[in-house]
Symmetry: C2
Subunit: 426 residues, 2 copies
C-alpha cells in the first residue's frame, strides 16, 4: 500500500513538473500596459483607489480575466472576483490574487505583479489543459493602499465608520465602493466564512532589498509583522541659548537625540529581524537661539513576534529613564497604534518552499515588513505569500522594478504551490 502511494505521489509530482512555464514577455507586456493607466509624466503611476485611472486599470484586468475564461463578478465591497470551476466544486476554493491600486506617485510592480501573476496562472492552466480538483478564484482586492479595504470586507472586519473616510481620490470609501460597482449597504455579503477557502496565496514584490541583495529568487513569507507606534514626548526647559551654561540646561532635543541613538542600539542589540524607526521629530519653540524645552517624535517597532516588539520597547524605556536622570528631561510614551503580527500558515509556507525547491529556485524564509491583504485573509483561511526580488529594495516609488524573469519565476512558484495545495488534504 505504502509503495503504491509513493509511486502515485511521484507520478503526481512528475505531472506537476510538467506544468507550463510562465511567459516572462507576456507578464512584462501586461505590466507595461497596466502601467499606462494613471501613468505619471515623470514615470510610475498614480492609480489611487476609486480614481479614473483605477477604473481604467480594473476594466483592463477584467478583460484579461474574461479572456482567460474566468467567470468575473464584483462583490459588494468592489473586489473583482474571477472564478474557475474545479473537478469537485463542493471543495473549498483555492484563492489567490493581489491589488492594482497604487499609492500616489507609486510604481508599476507593487500589487500589479500579484494581480497579473494570478491571471497568468489561469492562462497556464488553460494552456496546459489542467483542471484542478478545487475550484479556483482570482481576487483583485480594491483599495489595498488606502487601508486594505477590500480584504477587510472579505474577512468581515471592515467597520462602517471607515466608509466615510476620505480616500486619496477625493471620494469617501463609500462613494468609491459604489463607483467600482459594489454596494456599501450589502457589505456583509462580501464576507467569507472561515473554512470556505482552502488556502489563499499572494505573489508580491519584496519591499526591502533582502532577496535582491542576497541574489535569491523566491521569498517564503512567514507572516506580516506586527507594528507598534508610540508618540514620545520629551519635556525639558526652554531657555536662552546664549546665556544658559551647558551644565545648567535641560535640553529636550539633546536628550531626545540620545534616545534616538539608544532606540537604534536597542533594536540592533538583540539577534533577529526586528526594526525600530524614528521617522518624525519636532522641537519647540524651534528657534536657533532657544534651547528646546519640548520635543515630540514617533517611535515605530515591527517584528513577527509581538513579544519581541515589547522586548525592544522595554529596553527603550529603560534607557529613557537613564537619560532622564542625567538630563532632567522627562519622557512620556503614548501608544497610538498596535497591529498584531499576522502569521502565514506553516503548511502553506512549506508547500511554497517545496514548490520553489522543485523548480530549482533559490529561496529564503522571511517576514513581510509591510502590510498586505494576506494579513486580513489570514483571519479566515490558511494563507501564504511569495516574494520576488525588488531592485535596490525600492517600493512605493516610480523606481520600483522587478525583472520579467523574476516575475515569471514568481508565477511558476505560485502555480506550482496552488497545484500542490490542490492535491493536499489539508
Amino acid at each position: 500500500m505504502k509503495t503504491i502511494l509513493i509511486a502515485l505521489l511521484a507520478l503526481l509530482s512528475c505531472d506537476l513538473m510538467a506544468q507550463p512555464h510562465a511567459s516572462a514577455s507576456r507578464m512584462e507586456e501586461r505590466i507595461k500596459k497596466l502601467g499606462t493607466f494613471g501613468a505619471n509624466p515623470e514615470g510610475g503611476v498614480s492609480r489611487v483607489a476609486f480614481s479614473e485611472a483605477d477604473l481604467q486599470g480594473r476594466a483592463y484586468v477584467i478583460s484579461l480575466m474574461k479572456n482567460a475564461g474566468l467567470e468575473v463578478s464584483i462583490d459588494a465591497a468592489g473586489n473583482i472576483i474571477g472564478q474557475r470551476k474545479g473537478k469537485n466544486n463542493n471543495l473549498p476554493v483555492i484563492a489567490f490574487g493581489s491589488h492594482i491600486d497604487s499609492v500616489p506617485n507609486g510604481g508599476n510592480y507593487d500589487g500589479d505583479v500579484g494581480s497579473l501573476g494570478a491571471i497568468e496562472c489561469i492562462e497556464l492552466l488553460n494552456e496546459g489543459k489542467i483542471q484542478t480538483n478545487h475550484p479556483l478564484e482570482v481576487i483583485i482586492f480594491e483599495d489595498e493602499e488606502g487601508g486594505l479595504t477590500g480584504s477587510e470586507a472579505i474577512a468581515g472586519i471592515l467597520g462602517s465608520n471607515k466608509l466615510d473616510l476620505l480616500s486619496h481620490s477625493g471620494k469617501t470609501i463609500r462613494q468609491g465602493i459604489q463607483l467600482l460597482g459594489g454596494d456599501p449597504e450589502r457589505l456583509s455579503s462580501a464576507a467569507r466564512k472561515k473554512g470556505s477557502i482552502h488556502a489563499f496565496l499572494e505573489l508580491h514584490i519584496e519591499q526591502g532589498g533582502i532577496l535582491f541583495q542576497e541574489g535569491l529568487q523566491i521569498g517564503v513569507v512567514e507572516g506580516i509583522v506586527g507594528i507598534n507606534q508610540w508618540r514620545v514626548t520629551a519635556e525639558g526647559k526652554a531657555n536662552h541659548a546664549g546665556t544658559t551654561p551647558m551644565n545648567q540646561r535641560q535640553d529636550a532635543l539633546l536628550a531626545s537625540s540620545k534616545l534616538v541613538v539608544a532606540i537604534n542600539e536597542a533594536a540592533t542589540s538583540i539577534q533577529g529581524r526586528q526594526v525600530a524607526t524614528v521617522g518624525k521629530i519636532a522641537a519647540w519653540p524651534g528657534a536657533p537661539n532657544v534651547i528646546p524645552g519640548k520635543t515630540e517624535f514617533m517611535l515605530e517597532i515591527r517584528d513577527l513576534s509581538h513579544d519581541r516588539i515589547m522586548e525592544v520597547f522595554s529596553k527603550v524605556r529603560l534607557r529613557a529613564e537613564e537619560i532622564s536622570k542625567s538630563s532632567g528631561v522627562s519622557f512620556r510614551f503614548e501608544l497610538l497604534n498596535e497591529n498584531l503580527p499576522a502569521l502565514t500558515d506553516k503548511y502553506v509556507q512549506q508547500t511554497i518552499a517545496d514548490a520553489a525547491k522543485e523548480l530549482n529556485y533559490s529561496q529564503k524564509f522571511m517576514p513581510s515588513g509591510a502590510g498586505h491583504d494576506t494579513q486580513d485573509m489570514a483571519r479566515i483561511a490558511p494563507t501564504g505569500m511569495l516574494f520576488i526580488p525588488s531592485k535596490d529594495g525600492i517600493s512605493h516609488s516610480p523606481y520600483e522594478y522587478s525583472t520579467a524573469e523574476d516575475m515569471a519565476r514568481g508565477v511558476d512558484a505560485l502555480l506550482h504551490s496552488i497545484l500542490k495545495l490542490d492535491l493536499s488534504g489539508k
Copy 2:
C-alpha cells in the same frame, strides 16, 4: 610727590564713597509703573518698539528725565538723549543707559533696569549735589529687541536696507522711527564720532542664572559673545520603515541625532564658557513609517573668542565626517550668520570691578551670552556692562525678576563706576 598723589586718591576715593545710595523702593516703584505700559493680562509686558505701549513708556521715561533736570532730546534715530552738564563741557561725554522696548510677551526687567537705573544715577547726583567733570548723557535706545536699531544708528552702522523691514508693531522701522520723533532721512546725524564718548556703560539683568545660582551681586561683563549659526543638512536615503533591515539603512535622523550628541560633547570637552545649541530640527518625509532621508537643523555656537567658536566647530566637523563614514549619511554645513564677539574695554571692566569691590559687593567677571546695545557702542567708545542677578536665569518672559535690592546695588555700582571714570584720564 608719590605720597601726595596717594593721599589725593585716598581723598577722592573717600569722596566717592560718600555718594548717595540708590533707593530700592524708588527703583521698584518706577519698574512697576513702567510695567503698566503694555502690561499683559497674564503678567509681563508686550511693549514692542513703535507700539502704542512703547510711546506711552517713552513719555513716562522722558518725564522722569526732565524732572531729574536732564536736557532731553530725540535724535534722528528716535533714541532718547538726556544731557547733564559737567564742570568741563569740552571733555567727551560719559554716556550710560539701556532700552525700554520689550519682546512680545516679555518681562519688566530686561532693559528697564538699565534705563531707570541710569535715571536713578542722575537723581542721586542731584541729591548729592555732585557735578561731574565730564558732561553726562543718559541714552534710552530705541528698538533694541528688534535688532539694536538705535545703537546701530549711533555707531553709524544702521544700513538703510533695514529701514523697510517690518517690526513686531506691524510698522516698518522707517515708519517707527518717524513715530518716535526721529527722522529716517537724517539718520547720519545720530551717528557719534569715535572719541566723542569717554566711556559708555550699561546696567542690565543677567540673562542666565549664573549670578543668581552662585549668590553673587555684580557681574563685570567681559564682552558680548560672538554668535555663529549654521544650517546643517543631512542626506541619507528615505526608505520603508518596515521592510528595510537595520543594517541596510541610511537614516538621516539617526545620523543627525548622533551629531547632536557629538555637538554637545564638542562644546563641553573644552574648558571654557562656550555654548553650542541645536534649537530646531526637521526630518523628511516625516512619516512614522518612513526612514528619514533628509534632516535639517540649526547649529549655534557662542563664545567671547571667535577662535574658540571655530575650535568647537572644527570638532563638530570632524565628528560629522566620522558619522558619515559609518552611516552613509552626508552632512552639509552652511554658515547663515556670523556676529563677531564685541569685547568691553579692559580699563572700564577693571573700573567696574574696583567700584563693586569698594562697595563691598560680591562680583564675577563673565561674558554676556545675549546681544546688547553695548556691542554697537563698543565700535565707537570704550564700553562696560554691569549685570545684576536674574531669578532662575529667566529672561524674555513674564517671569523675569530681580529684587529691588539687587537693582539698587546695580545702580550704586554703575554710579560709582561713572564717578571713577570721571576722574580717570583714560
